[in-house]
């Protein structure tokens, strides 16, 4: 229970931003919570889904970070 609250405190503040980007943050949180609650290692499919999401977010981060102030 305490572990689940700890995970919620880590992830929940960030979920609105995930939703802003069209990422299902609730699903992401519930997946991490399920892995923890079931006391098991994530499956390959769960890793692949997370990796794909992170790859997409990293590409968007890099594109946004390249923006420069006008005139520079």
């Amino acid at each position: 229970m305490i572990a689940a609250i700890g995970l919620a405190l880590e992830v929940l503040p960030l979920i609105p931003k995930l939703i802003d980007l069209g990422v299902d943050g609730y699903s992401l949180f519930m997946k991490a919570k399920a892995v923890r609650d079931e006391n098991r290692a994530p499956t390959d499919a769960e890793w692949q889904q997370l990796d794909a999401m992170v790859n997409d977010l990293e590409a968007r981060f890099d594109a946004a970070a390249r923006q420069r102030p006008p005139g520079t």
């Binding site: 995970l7 880590e10 992830v11 503040p13 960030l14 979920i15 931003k17 995930l18 802003d20 980007l21 990422v23 943050g25 992401l28 949180f29 997946k31 991490a32 892995v35 923890r36 006391n39 098991r40 290692a41 994530p42 769960e46 890793w47 997370l50 990796d51 999401m53 992170v54 977010l57 990293e58 968007r60 981060f61 946004a64 970070a65 923006q67 420069r68 102030p69 006008p70 520079t72």
Partner: protein, 133 residues
């Protein structure tokens, strides 16, 4: 300064694990599974922090005089890139070292601890700047 502290802590824990343990390969254990679970959680948190950073970075960069209400500072953007780079190294190392569950458990633990520090630093920076400067 904080970034340097995280980088130093990361190097120290990984070095300590590599130099202090010579037991070599071990069979899969519950500990290895729990470390992989922790690496998965850290990558999920990293995904959340990335999304918060993107929302900030996609705002127009601030100019003087200011022309928009919400903008992103170039200095903060540069910091986010540095913190993101550190967190990415951490989560990638934690994932690669824990997914097979056949490696050196102390080294896995060091990788996960380093990733936790780096991801936490990135997340804290993003939380400070959520909603614009």
């Amino acid at each position: 300064m904080f970034l340097k502290a995280i980088a130093l802590a990361f190097v120290v824990v990984v070095s300590a694990a590599n130099s202090g343990c010579s037991t070599g390969q071990s069979t899969p254990t519950v500990d290895a599974a729990s470390l992989q679970r922790k690496a998965f959680e850290l990558k999920s948190i990293y995904a959340g922090a990335l999304s918060g950073a993107i929302v900030y970075l996609e705002q127009p960069r601030c100019t003087e005089p200011r022309t928009v209400v919400l903008c992103s500072s170039q200095a903060v953007a540069d910091d986010m890139v540095r913190y993101r780079d550190m967190a990415k190294i951490g989560v990638d190392l934690a994932e690669s070292s824990t997914r097979s569950m056949t490696g050196n458990v102390p080294a896995m633990q060091a990788a996960v601890d380093g990733a936790a520090a780096a991801v936490n630093g990135f997340k804290q920076l993003v939380l400070v700047y959520q909603g614009g400067k």
